[in-house]
């Protein structure tokens, strides 16, 4: 697509967005009945698609600028090529973000006219001025960033990187701004002794934006978007690796997959904790959210989340395992015996600790901090084990962590329906509690950190044979991207469903017949469908953006070189 075509699509999308907002001011519109899906699911589909595209176009630039800067600093052309290729895909998908955004407003207006009008009026300044201005600025800077790539190279590279930083800054503010109305729907501002309706009358725009879950949502999304950008980069690399015509291309896309995955894993390690912070603030706002999520209608959604995260951690560690296989000299890499010992005792110690000192109690940190000393203490212990053994023990502990995470209090859809024949014995009830889940979470993170530290040691001591990775790894990269998007969809559904029968919690009830909690199975069908649509569009964008130019004059970068030579 040419620049004018991109601009046209973006302009149309903005027109739709503005039109929607203006249309929203028309009062007493009757609602439209969407056939087959129903109104709520229709909104769900466009909202989730918009969120996915939005997350990608906000997350990818963070990843892109880091990569471009690394390339400039290390004078390694591979980073620059990676950044440019991901930017090409991002530019195409930026238009999709705008289009789905416009569609979102229209579907929302058609399905819930009264509520949407009220909602737009609550954030009139945001929806009519701030958000469109930021969106337009973001579009201009993104296109400038992309089209100035070749013009601003060499000595002008710093200028180009600064433009990328500006793009990220705009993207970040954009996300912070739109997270205001999003989080407002869950936790509108309130104060003790005053009804939410009365408080809303005197609340300023800032009060509405900076509600209790606004910042936790921002943090969770920044982190999630970086991980998402990394995983999608890994997926792009996998596609290109599979379509590569020669060894040189394979070497490059092998490296690209490795780089994308590394960033994604780094960000994913923080995801459980920022997610926990968001849930903590929600429960603090209204404690009835907590049993609804963990022990009632949504409890099985969290079981599914546990299964997905468990699978993702297995996938991330399996990628390390396959990557190690293509490092020459890996058999000589060894690690202190303290590492596997700590891995084995870790979940059980954490379970006890978390039962006594609940996070964020500083005492819980007192038990976590000594972990930092493991590498230091390991130097004084003469016993070591091979890299393969450490990773295999790590896998065992990931499986144990998954098992702890997945063990429910009982096999019932709600706590109210819990019968003795599906419930944990009284003495083992602790396996279904939050301290147990936290210990599982910490175990998965700790094992993955150890494995990646080991991998880092292996690439320093050995020689990576780029392009020689086991072909299975490409499916692992695709799996990680798909699973992360699916999990995002699942948790997005949970965040929306905790509002129960309210559009905006405790303020605007949803009087329609669809204001109930859907089944997990029904939700899974839609989440899968939306993920497939998203993947199809992204795959198409990858083919459009990267296939024709894949062999046009770039410097060969991918020949096998010793990692330490970089």
């Amino acid at each position: 697509m040419k620049m004018w075509q991109h601009s046209l699509v973006a302009a149309c999308a903005l027109l739709v967005l503005f039109g929607g907002v203006a249309y929203g001011q028309v009062s007493d519109m009757p609602s439209v009945e969407f056939p087959y899906t129903g109104n709520r699911t229709a909104v769900w589909i466009v909202a989730q698609l918009h969120t996915l595209f939005g997350a990608l176009v906000l997350g990818a630039p963070i990843f892109i600028v880091i990569s471009e800067w690394l390339g400039y600093r290390k004078q390694d052309l591979r980073y620059d090529r990676l950044a440019k290729e991901v930017t090409k895909v991002t530019v195409i998908l930026f238009s999709m973000t705008a289009l789905t955004g416009g569609l979102f407003i229209f579907v929302l207006l058609a399905a819930y006219p009264q509520f949407t009008t009220w909602f737009i009026n609550q954030f009139y300044l945001v929806f009519t001025v701030v958000y469109p201005l930021l969106f337009i600025s973001g579009a201009i800077v993104l296109y400038m960033y992309f089209y100035m790539w070749d013009a601003w190279k060499g000595e002008k590279k710093g200028r180009h990187i600064a433009l990328g930083v500006l793009l990220n800054l705009i993207g970040m503010i954009l996300m912070f701004v739109i997270d205001g109305p999003t989080s407002f729907m869950n936790t509108p501002p309130k104060t003790e002794g005053v009804s939410p309706q009365d408080f809303l009358v005197v609340a300023t725009l800032w009060d509405k934006i900076a509600n209790q879950t606004w910042m936790p949502l921002n943090l969770h999304r920044i982190d999630g978007n970086v991980a998402f950008g990394g995983f999608v980069t890994g997926m792009i690399a996998a596609y290109m690796y599979m379509g590569a015509k020669n060894q040189e291309e394979r070497a490059y896309y092998d490296w690209m997959g490795f780089a994308g995955n590394l960033i994604a894993v780094g960000a994913t390690l923080f995801q459980p904790f920022t997610g926990l912070l968001l849930a903590y603030e929600m429960c603090d706002y209204d404690f009835s959210f907590c049993p609804y999520m963990m022990a009632d209608q949504l409890s099985m959604f969290f079981e599914m989340q546990g299964a997905m995260i468990g699978l993702m951690f297995l996938g991330m560690n399996y990628y390390v395992w396959l990557s190690l296989k293509r490092i020459e000299g890996v058999e000589k890499v060894r690690m202190t015996i303290l590492a596997p010992i700590t891995m084995v005792v870790f979940p059980f110690v954490m379970m006890v600790v978390m039962n006594y000192y609940w996070i964020p109690d500083p005492m819980s940190l007192a038990f976590l901090l000594p972990l930092v000393l493991v590498p230091l203490l390991g130097r004084f212990i003469p016993f070591t084990v091979s890299a393969r053994t450490v990773i295999k023990i790590g896998f065992l502990m990931v499986l144990v962590g998954d098992a702890i995470w997945l063990t429910p209090h009982g096999f019932a859809a709600t706590g109210a329906k819990m019968a003795a024949e599906v419930e944990l014995p009284e003495a083992w009830n602790f396996l279904g509690t939050m301290p147990a889940k936290l210990s599982a979470m910490f175990t998965l993170v700790f094992v993955t950190v150890v494995n990646y530290a080991l991998y880092n040691r292996a690439i320093k001591q050995g020689t990576i044979l780029w392009g020689k990775i086991d072909f299975t790894s490409q499916f692992v990269l695709i799996f990680l991207a798909f699973a992360s998007i699916w999990t995002m969809g699942l948790m997005g559904a949970v965040r929306s469903l905790v509002r129960k029968y309210f559009h905006t919690y405790n303020l605007i009830p949803d009087f329609t017949a669809e204001s109930f909690t859907p089944t997990l199975s029904y939700s899974a069908w839609w989440i899968t469908g939306i993920s497939v649509v998203f993947f199809t569009v992204v795959s198409f964008a990858v083919i459009v953006a990267l296939r024709p130019s894949d062999s046009k004059g770039h410097v060969p970068e991918g020949s096998p070189i010793p990692a330490r030579a970089k």
Binding site: G243, D286, Y318, A413
Partner: protein, 267 residues
Amino acid sequence: MGNIIKKLSIGLVVGGALVGITRALEFPFVFQMMFFGFSIFGAAVFMLLDAPSVRTMSGAKSVIAIVVFYIVLCTVFVSGASMWPQFDPEEEKEKIAKLLAPKRAATEQGKAEELIARTKALDEQVKALEVRLKALGGDQQVAKAMPLGGAPPVVAKAATGDFMKLGEEQWQLHECYNCHKLKGEGGKKRGPELDNIGSYLTADEIKQKIFYPKSFMAEGFEKEWEKGKMPDKFKDVMEDSDAMALATWLSTFKNTSVNTPKPIKKQ
């Protein structure tokens, strides 16, 4: 093949041991199967670790491989989610309809809907009367027996029973059982057990606690009280009469054999 047999054997042995141990510890059957499943899954993971490398594919072969892989992923995710126990929305729909009825009635749309419903009901009554009058040849008794839009006579005893029933219904609708144990059911130690609350508080005081959670603190629940764990939303989401019905119903619970913590007046 040797790799598969070896890992599968280990998986079966570990799984069997887990089933034996969990059975001895009186875990329900479903948990025994879950632990067995974990063991077999673990064996599969270790089989994968030592599996031989897959040959590099390209062209149409790799496209087909990707498509098949996506189909497998979709199937696994959807069927995996469908295997967990499913919450029946029908149970919630009835609750929500009752919870939202007063709010709906308060809206313009609700008022209009109520008016339409009442008009329809009146129309039907008129039609029924016409039919009966025709059949009887214009008897005034019919009109006496069925006063237009008239409410049935109220019996004090029945009203009290209805009021208690309404209180119990509020307990269910607002899912108080998620935090409080009553009659041996519900509660996960999030809030105090309430079987003896009637011995400590009057109906008015209980209502005050429901509307203003900080007004009383249960002994031993200082942390929960400090953190404001009991939601302060009920004065906004409950009708006054519904809260009174719930409070009155709760005040009838005076089972001294249950250790309901003593409430301390705070505000």
